[in-house]
Structure formats: C-alpha cells, structure tokens
Symmetry: none
Subunit: 215 residues, 4 copies
C-alpha cells in the first residue's frame, strides 16, 4: 500500500489484493470481511477483485491456499539431523509453537474454516501432501528413539503430532477467552514459555519407555 504504485502492474495488484484479503479475513472471518474494505486496503477497486478471483469465496480460498502453503514451507525447511531423538522432539515442538504464536491470524483463518466445516478447504486441490513431510519427519524420530531404547515403541506418529500441535494451538487461539477466565495471558512471553516447558516435559515424559508401565 505505502509502496510505490506502478500504473499497470497486474502481479502487484493481485498480490496486494491477496494480502489485504488475508488481513481482512483473518480479522473478521469470511462473513465479517467486506469486499469493499479489502479493495480499499489493497489500494484498488472492487472490480479488480472479481477480475482476479471471480468471487469473494474464490478470494477466500486463494487466501487459504496461500497461508497453508506458507505454513508448509516453513515446517518443511526444518533440519533435525544430527540431534538426539529427545532434542529433535524439543526442537520440532518449539519451532511449531513459535510459529503459531507469531502468526495468530493464521489460526483465525483455520478456526473460520472449521466453522464452515472445512467446505472451502475441500474445494482446493494441493493439500494432503502439505502435512505429510513433517509427520514423516516425526515418524523417523520416533522410530529412531524406539530402536535406540530411548522412546517407548508403538507410538502413532499422527496422533502424537496432532497432540503436539494442539498444545501450541490452543493457548494461542484461545488467548482472549483464557485471559478472561484465568487472568493469564498466554501470548505474553513469560506465560508462553512457562506452559511450553510444561508441554515439552509432558511429551518427553510420555515418550520414556518405562512410563508406559504405569497405566
């Protein structure tokens, strides 16, 4: 917006619309966002929005795809080679949680998508593969840990991954209602670190081979 405007700049216009839409959809949801506001923020007019994305919903799907792509790229570039299994888990968790904490708008979009029962996600093509690399990575770590006798065997990597992500997701996504009820703001550095320590502890306690005897 504040950047220098070129007269005919198709790619730039498209990109600015997408960025503005991302901002508005994450702030207000699909129903709450205004086409008019998106155009204004993008520094163009409503017509262009339809020119490039066909409809409000089309634009919403485009934003969804872009954000998932961005998220996947970030997770895919994680290098855990040469680490002890427990350290690898630690680093993986911290990486994901930090990313979530630093991109809370992203969570709004995901929540919105769940409100719509995933309808728009289905509409998009390239997806499923988005998540698998990280789960594969995790599977490898768990297997290595088990074979080395450090982790308990037989853990489902997908459930474990979902649990790990959920720990970071919940405290960020629900930071406002949580603060209202607990008086504790989990977006604050101190509180976030403190509960993250708890979460790492919990994950690693669970992975210990002897802990299994308890249940």
């Amino acid at each position: 917006m504040s950047e220098l405007r070129v007269k005919r700049d198709p790619e730039g216009t498209r990109r600015r619309i997408l960025e503005a839409a991302a901002e508005q959809f994450t702030k207000f949801g699909l129903a709450g966002a205004r086409v008019d506001a998106i155009a204004t923020v993008a520094g163009t007019n409503e017509r262009m929005l339809y020119y490039y994305f066909t409809s409000k919903e089309g634009l919403y799907v485009a934003v969804l795809e872009a954000m998932y792509a961005q998220f996947a790229e970030r997770e895919g570039s994680l290098d855990l080679s040469g680490l002890q299994p427990s350290d690898a888990i630690r680093k993986l968790a911290q990486s994901i949680w930090t990313h979530l904490r630093d991109n809370p708008q992203w969570l709004n979009l995901v929540n919105n998508e769940n409100l719509h029962e995933g309808r728009y996600l289905e509409r998009s093509s390239r997806l499923r593969e988005t998540i698998s690399p990280v789960v594969d990575l995790l599977r490898a770590i768990l297997e290595r840990g088990a074979s080395e006798g450090q982790f308990r065997p037989g853990i489902d990597p997908l459930d474990f991954y979902v649990t790990l992500v959920g720990m970071g997701y919940y405290v960020v996504s629900n930071r406002f209602t949580l603060e209202a009820f607990t008086g504790r703001n989990y977006a604050e550095q101190r509180n976030h670190e403190s509960i993250s320590r708890l979460h790492v502890d919990m994950l690693l306690s669970y992975l210990r081979p002897d802990s299994r005897t308890m249940d």
Copy 2:
C-alpha cells in the same frame, strides 16, 4: 419450534429466541448469523428479539452467558471424592473431553469470541468465578497426589488445567481441518478414544514423580 405454542408466553418466547440464537450463532458466527433466521427458528418475529435483547449484539452476549453458565454448571457438579489421585485425573479429563465432544457448537462460539478478541465476554459481568471451582478441585487432587508420593510436586494447577482442556478442545474444534489434512476424523468414536487414551497417558506420565529426572 415443534413444541406446543401458548398465546401469551413471555418466558417461553424469550427462551425460544435464546435457543434459536445459540444455534444460529454457533453455526454461522456473529456476523454470519441472520436476525431474520433466528426469529423464524424461534417461531416469532424479529421485533420480539429487540424487545427482549435490545440488539443483535445484546442477544449474542446473552447466548454467550447462557452457554458459559451451562458449561460451568456441568463441570461444577463433578464428584471426584473417594478416588485415587490418578483415577480422579482420569475421570476429570474424560468428563471434560466428553462434554466438549458432545457440544462442538459451544466451541464455535468460543472461537468466535476469540476472533472478536474477547470483546463481548468483557461486556458480561459474572465470569471469573465460572472456572475457579474446577481449578480448585484439580489443585486439591494434585496436592493430595504429591503428598501421597504419587505425583511430582510443584505443578501449576492452572497451566495443567489449560493443557488438559486444550487436548480435548483442539481435536474437536479442528476436526474438519484435521480430517482434511490427516484423513482422520477425531469426532469418530474410535479415533477420539484412541487419542484420548494417548492424552491420559501423557498427563499421568508427566505426573509421575520419577519422570521429572529426565529433563
């Protein structure tokens, strides 16, 4: 709707509006819900909605209050006396998770409230006390477990509670996006039980006094 309609029934009208609003707000969010649809579902006309709740937002706040009250009532009535500490944790977790899984609309409302950064929750009065009874209960269990040498000492009950709730919350709230990416539907009995088992295991592993040496 299908219930017998009495001609003059202020309490009934009010209640039906509230129920219809709860349904619509949880389905579509504050912005997405239509006043007109709420009135129709409630079997009355739009005017009554303003008669009883002043505005759409006023109605939203009323729904929010009602749902939180309902949630608190349910959690408050939990009886864990006479149970071993670890069994008490198990029962508490199962109770909360079951409740969450059976009331997914409730989570939509909470997510919506987080989208609004908790603005409407602030507007309501009676709150904070809603959560404390359960946390007090949990604190007592943790202390008893620690004094009996079964749990590690020094655990923050609030962080532990948030973690516990979050485990159940995340898989239910995000069931649609999770299914899109993992192919696994956590609303299904089998998957829900399986990951719940993982979560209980994890909580109890963490609580074991010797697990602490690991980190």
Copy 3:
C-alpha cells in the same frame, strides 16, 4: 413526571400525555416525534396514548387545539382600555411579541402545521373564533385613532394585525437561520428589543395620517 404519581389518575395521565406530546411534537415535528418517547416522558406506556387519543395524529390534533386555546386565552385577556390609541398599539404589539418570544416551541408547531398545509387544523372544530376578539380589539383602536385624527383612516385591521404578528413571528421562528446568516441572535434580549423598537416605530409611522401623502 417528577410529580407524585397516583395509581389511578385518569385525568393526570391524560394531561401528562398531552404535555409530553406537546414537547415532542414541537421539538421534532409530527413525523419526527416518537410515540414511544412520548409515553416514556409522560411516565406511562404507549397503550394509554391510544386509549385516550386514538392515534398519533389524534394526539397531534389535541396538542394543536390545546396550544391554540392557550394562545387565545392569553391574547383575549389583554386590557387596553383607557390608553391613547398609539399607546394601545404599542402595548398590543409588545404583548404579542413577548408572548411569541417566550413560547418559541409554539411556533414550531404552527410551522409544522403549515408544512402539512393546515390539514390537521381543519380537522379541529372550534377555531375561527379564536382570533376574532383581538382583531375586534384592534379594529376598535384603529377606528378610535382615526376619528380622533391621530391615525390615517381606511386601514384594514386584519392585514394590519397580520403584519404586526408577522414582525414578531419571523424573528423568533427564524432565529437560528438568521443567526447563521446575519450573525445576530434575535432571541437575545438586546437584539430583540432593538428590532422591536424599529417595528413599533414602523407601525406608528404608518398610522400617522400625513404619512399617507408620500405614496
């Protein structure tokens, strides 16, 4: 409103509604006034308003009648006996102008009635006689002045009366737009007195028998 409320007080209720209606109609006009606001100000409910006055328009007509009656009563009680013709004119004018200045809301009502082309005034019965006593009074003064050689003869008392009233009416009724354009506020004592002096001068100059030669 602030007076002591009796439980069953038909006359009081009716009177309070009428007073509240007068206030609201003069402030906002017929279209702008709100039935709901009238009831609130009157300290009763909307239903009573319909009980006593049938409709909003019925109430408006009642207010109109009441205010005209009040105005007529005031003018009718004027005693000009024993005064020199020119002094009688002076006193008559001052009396009317002061009354207008002190009851600007009344003018709003009259303007409103003119906006409606006098439709509601027609609906009322006892009227025409309202004005005649003052005009009769004025006619008598003019005739006496003429027969005594102080006033020019042949003046139409009705036109003269209309002119006289209009002088006071215009500066009060249009005080806001006049101030916006002239910067002079004719509701202020000083300005009102100054222009009133001009008006009296003008009326009396015109009445002088020799002034007629000029035209």
Copy 4:
C-alpha cells in the same frame, strides 16, 4: 424524471437525485421524507443516493446548500442603479417578496432547518457571504436616501433588511394557518398585492425623515 434517460450519466443521476430530494424534503421535512420515494422520483435506486451523498442527512445538507445558492444568485443579480432611493426600496422589496411567494417550498426547508436549530446549516461551509451583498446594497440605498434628505438617518440596515424579508416571509410561510384563522388566503394574487402595498407603505413611512418626531 420524464426526461430522456442516458445509460451512464453520473452528473444527470446526481442532479436528478438532488432535485427529487429537494422536492421531498420541502414537502415532508427531513424526518418525513422517504429515501425510497426520493430514489423513485429520481428514477434511480436507493443505493445511488448513498453512493453520491453518503447518507440521508448528507443529501439534506446538499439540498440546503443548493437552495441557498440559488436564492443568493437571484438576489445578487438585482440591479437598482439609477433609481430614486424610495423606488429602489420598492423594487428591492417587490423582488424579494415575489421570489418568496413563487418558491414556498424553499420556506418549508428554512422552517425545517429552524426546527433543527440550524444544526445542518452549520455543517455546511460557504454561507455568511450569501446574504451580505444584498445588505450592502440596502445600506447604500439607505445612506444615499439619508444624504439626499429623503430618508431618516441612522437606520440599521441589517434590522431593516430582516424586517423587510420577514414581511414577505410570514404571509407566505404561514398562508395555511392564516387562512384557517382569518379566512384570507395570502397566496392569492389579490390579497398578496394588497398586503404588499401595506408593507411598502409602512417601510417608506418609516423611512420619511419627519416621521421620526412622532415617537
């Protein structure tokens, strides 16, 4: 309305809306006028009204400005050069009164604005200068008349102007209530001429230098 419609005609659309609004606001006042009716009369839809004028009130202010501008233009083009002072007064008065009589809707708008205590007039910018040219003109006439010994000296031109305008304003603006009470219709040619003669006589009688001795 009945004119030929061009498909894309921004200026025309804007103008037609303004004209329709002027008609409706003068007929029914700000509160009484209907946005829907304005759009229909303008031969467009309600949306365009907001497109060009932001809100109903915005449109009202635009109408106000347009009508004042029109009024000012008309008065500004008056040529009184080469006339005897008394004839100049006569011509000025006749010009203003005729204009008022021929544009009674304009008076409705002014009355409406006074009902609103001039709130919307304030909102507008260019104003004060609207009236001054005519007052300057009048001041010059009065001074010339005084220096030539035809008029009494020391007359305040602003008060004199207000009085002059008021004479024409009152009988037109209040023609309906006046007819209800006096039975005389001042919009009719005969009656209007008759009272106008009285008014001119009165103004000139007052201006005569010797009339001043009377008071």
